[in-house]
């Protein structure tokens, strides 16, 4: 077998990562899917505009000095009767520009959603690896806790954790801590699926010879888990993380809508919707309508992206 290295194979490694990515099946499938393209674009626009909200938003809705109560209840695209100012999406009862509050609110929603998913992911991966790898009592305890948690609706779990955590926080810090408590609550209610998927992959991979080979050369269990087993679980984890992000954003909005989430001083989309629904029957529909549409667009596009990712990364569905 004295064949020389073919130029074809060595070429592949001369190219950069970006080049290789652009030639991959994954990128090809992405380009060919209108759903993926549209939802990815929407997600990008929303994320970009919330990250750069202070530069994009016409006003800072949380700076009391810039507010003019006379601007209150201005309908969208119509000049205010007293001040003559016009607002793209109108203003709320205190004269805050709805467009600006949405940009700032989406920031909170995305931050809470992403942090909660990150937290759930790290927790789930660690517990899943440990229970799958070590088995025995460790596994039994972790997975039974997961099973018990699955019997409650996750929003209920989040409310419970939120309530308990709030009870422990001193009153003067409550508003500041609310965001972090929210992240903790949503994250803790969401780790189970990560743990289950990672455990499943670990059970399959740890039987393979390369794990035995790594054990044989004397690698420690944590090194084997992180370096050899975890990479095999990453694509399902990525899919779950994306879908969880949509769910976490909705969960945050639900909690905030119920009044147990983000405080009015740091309103998220859910808080805005809660505030807006009070004015729905008095005719100021825009205070509710625009935040709700934004939440819909955000959750839907993240969810569609997650669905597409699941299909694209699943070799059996190709």
């Amino acid at each position: 077998m004295a064949d020389t290295p073919t130029p074809l194979t060595s070429n592949v490694h001369d190219k950069g990562r970006w080049e290789r990515f652009r030639e991959s099946d994954f990128f090809f499938a992405f380009k060919r899917s209108p759903v993926a393209l549209v939802s990815f674009t929407v997600v990008c626009i929303l994320v970009f505009s919330s990250v750069f909200a202070p530069w994009i938003a016409p006003t800072n809705p949380f700076d009391p000095a810039s507010l003019n109560l006379m601007n209150g209840f201005t309908p969208p695209m119509e000049p205010n009767a007293f001040t003559g100012s016009a607002f793209l999406m109108g203003t709320d009862d205190q004269g805050r520009d709805v467009f600006s509050t949405i940009l700032y609110g989406m920031r909170i929603s995305l931050f809470v959603g992403a942090s909660a998913v990150l937290f759930a992911m790290v927790l789930g991966i660690v517990l899943g690896l440990v229970s799958g790898y070590f088995g025995g009592w460790t596994e039994t305890i972790i997975m039974r806790v997961a099973d018990v948690q699955l019997t409650f609706p996750s929003i209920l779990v989040a409310m419970l954790i939120f309530g308990i955590a709030k009870g422990f926080t001193p009153v003067e810090y409550r508003d500041q801590m609310a965001i972090w408590v929210l992240i903790l609550a949503i994250g803790l209610s969401d780790w189970v699926q990560f743990a289950r998927v990672v455990r499943g992959t670990t059970l399959v991979e740890k039987k393979k010879d390369y794990v035995a080979a790594a054990l044989l050369i004397g690698r420690r269990p944590w090194a084997i888990m992180i370096k050899h087993i975890l990479p095999n679980a990453l694509s399902p984890v990525l899919v779950i993380a994306t879908i969880s992000l949509a769910l976490a954003i909705i969960a945050e909005a639900t909690l905030s809508f119920l009044g147990v989430g983000a405080p009015p001083t740091q309103p998220s989309l859910g808080t805005l919707i809660r505030i807006g629904q009070g004015f729905l029957f008095s005719g100021e529909w825009w205070i509710l309508f625009f935040p709700a549409c934004t939440l819909l667009a955000l959750a839907l596009s993240v969810n569609l992206l997650g669905d597409w990712l699941r299909d694209a990364l699943n070799p059996r569905l190709r």
Binding site: T4, P5, T9, K208, A212, L216, G218, K227
Partner: protein
Amino acid sequence: MTSPVLSIHDLSVDIPTRAGVVKPVDGVSYGIAAGEILGVVGESGAGKSMVGNAVIGLLSRPAHISGGEIWLNGNRIDTLEGERIRRVRGKEIGMVFQDPLTSLNPLLTIGDQLSETILTHLPIGKAEAEKRVVAALEEVGIPGAAERIDSYPHEFSGGMRQRVVIALALCAEPSLVIADEPTTALDVSVQAQIISLLKRLCRERGTAIMLITHDMGVIAEAADRVAVMYAGRLAELGPVRDVLQQPEHPYTHGLMTSTPLAAMDQKRLHQIPGAMPRLSHMPDGCAFHPRCPRAQEQCRHAPLPAIEDTRAACWFPMTAEAVE
């Protein structure tokens, strides 16, 4: 013979089950000298791989060593624990697994996997390790080794992958390599290459090799000595030429006559009647007696003769005329 690299004395492995304790390995003893290839043969479930796993200390629970001793380079290794067993087995033992598809991590480049092993055991830096990786790949005959260290396992064919696995087993310069069915998953032409590669490395480096297989052809081609296992026990142990050409144990004889050989003009392959006993229902006396054409009353009850004195663990070993 110089003092053996690996010597196993009276090794037993127990698996406690609901139906009682079964012994997949029962009183096995053999040694392997430096530069020697010992072939271990037997049918599925004979305990060949169990011995290998016991030596590397990776028996999966609830299986455990229940008796006997394992010595590696003058150190007893079956009683070592924790940190010390890890250091010894990683440095001194290399392992070639059966299936090259699962014995390499699909998500790491082969260069990463080789240097992981080298860096774990040799006190050298990354640049030096990379040179060693290239050298190790060249030694097992990977063409263009320097360009291929960034390749992933799926970019290699099965035979090439098995070469990488062999490089992986040898790169920390172990004194013992356990090759567990290294050619079973490969096609015949590649088998011959892998076997001659193992033989060459064994000769050049003086590595002791335990070659576990059920393929008599591979044994005849590669091994210096052969250990025939049956139902967890050693049936016959001796130089490969003697054992294959003039088997003393009736089981070895049965194995040989049921191996298709182009040189022998056989109309029909011989079969050994019956099947290997279940480990939970082992017969008394010789484990082979229910299937043995030469079995007599003594075989049913008396414990077997120890293999140290004779070549075969049998009361009525086959002589030259009996083979005819």
